[in-house]
Point group: C2
Chain length 257, copies 2
């Protein structure tokens, strides 16, 4: 089995080292990751600038390829130019911090996996629910098991799995929960500050307003110490509204035809 590993925290992050280590027990692993942190870049791709690719060594051993771009760029570059063949699986992570509910929209980790799904490669995004993770070993173990399960069961083209692992001791994990993307959203504010030159600037901050209380919602599952596994896709059509809008007669209303 050939697995392409990427992330959004950058090639030097601990999470990707733990992921590559765990998956190398079951597959030939190629690491292609951003040369620096790319959190919250969403599904950004680099078109206005060229990309550069450098070999990256960790403790003097070759670890992978660092790309001067986004997580989605890394997956495209990794598949098209570095591997040259479609891998059996793309796994993104292990992200430092959860990617549940609305955060999926902003997530570079999920977008790397989604880019693979767009290329018809089965993909998994793995995150741990804490920015200051000390031990990635359980998340690595879960990632490995999910890869084996996906290899066995297959995944529909265009679908990826978004996995979130609670950052608690392994013995406190209650189980694995199949979930939906939760509905919780951020209540953002911009904090205004003034620089030493008298000019204003703003920092984004906010709180996640947790509106879900069902265990089958990703955010609630992880909060309840379950590993959350959500199948997600990139078909954004709102089919329900599509059906409703048929009665709008938009052609008549807008063009008079």
């Amino acid at each position: 089995m050939r697995i392409l590993v990427s992330n959004d925290d950058g090639i030097e992050a601990e999470g990707i080292a733990a992921l590559a280590k765990a998956l190398s027990e079951i597959a030939e692993v190629t690491v292609v990751a951003p040369h620096k942190e790319q959190s919250a870049v969403g599904h950004s791709i680099t078109m206005q600038n060229p990309l550069r690719v450098k070999k990256y060594y960790k403790n003097k051993e070759f670890f992978g390829y660092a790309v001067t771009g986004t997580p989605a760029d890394c997956v495209k570059m990794g598949i098209r130019n570095i591997m040259g063949v479609l891998p059996d699986l793309v796994v993104s992570g292990i992200n430092h911090g959860s990617n549940t509910a609305i955060n999926i929209i902003y997530s570079g980790t999920v977008s790397a996996a989604r880019e693979a799904a767009i290329m018809d490669v089965p993909a998994i995004a793995v995150s741990v629910t804490n920015h200051e993770v000390t031990d990635f070993s359980y998340a690595g173990e879960i990632a490995k098991k999910i890869c084996l399960l996906v290899a066995k069961k297959g995944l529909k083209k265009g679908t990826l799995l978004n996995v979130n692992v609670p950052d608690v001791p392994k013995e406190e994990i209650k189980g694995i929960q199949l979930t939906h993307q939760g509905k919780s959203k951020w209540d953002d504010i911009y904090e205004k500050r003034v620089d030493p030159y008298g000019q204003e600037y703003y920092w984004l901050k906010g709180d996640l307003i947790e509106t879900d209380d069902e265990l089958y919602m990703d955010q609630m599952a992880t909060k309840s110490n379950y590993v959350s596994v959500s199948p997600i896709h990139f078909d954004l059509t709102d089919y329900e509204t599509f059906e409703e809008m048929k009665s709008w007669n938009i052609d008549k209303e807008l063009s008079g035809k």
Copy 2:
């Protein structure tokens, strides 16, 4: 009616000027847009750096606010700090180039509208299917009519409309088509070049492989000279796969519980 206008081509683009002009005929318009081009940034938001906001003047008249961030940042900032109230509508565009099929995923224009939908504000993304547009007047007219229609009919929370206008003379437009996000994808390649210092770099390029032939698919509709209107949302759950995966027994398979 109060409308927040943003885009991803930047506040100096012709498309946003045409949009603001058209919508000012029916609403009080506030323009908040990136200070420079932000195409293909997807749903990126700025968290690692602060944002700055500057007033932008066009022909010596105040036009709007330029933000040193992404389209999604502009919508958050525009609603939270500049308008201070929820607008009745957020309209993003008029984009120079189409946002159909897989391009929706990468689009800053669509992400601006999506950020509004996340904030429960009805939103519309408007694009013209050509990077070198000479006349935005028909697209502006369509944007205005769709705003009035959405104001009349309402839009479900979390849903936005993605509108694509063919870049052909108005009399060649065949009508308005309600559409799905198409399935066409890019066949990407990276073109390798060598800089004057002997270092390699790569440019992303590719062709859109058109796989849809039904008029109710956005890309096909615009190609057939119809204005395409797609309702899209940000619930990424693949419900079909969710149901299928119930038989995977992931809890038993992965945790042995």
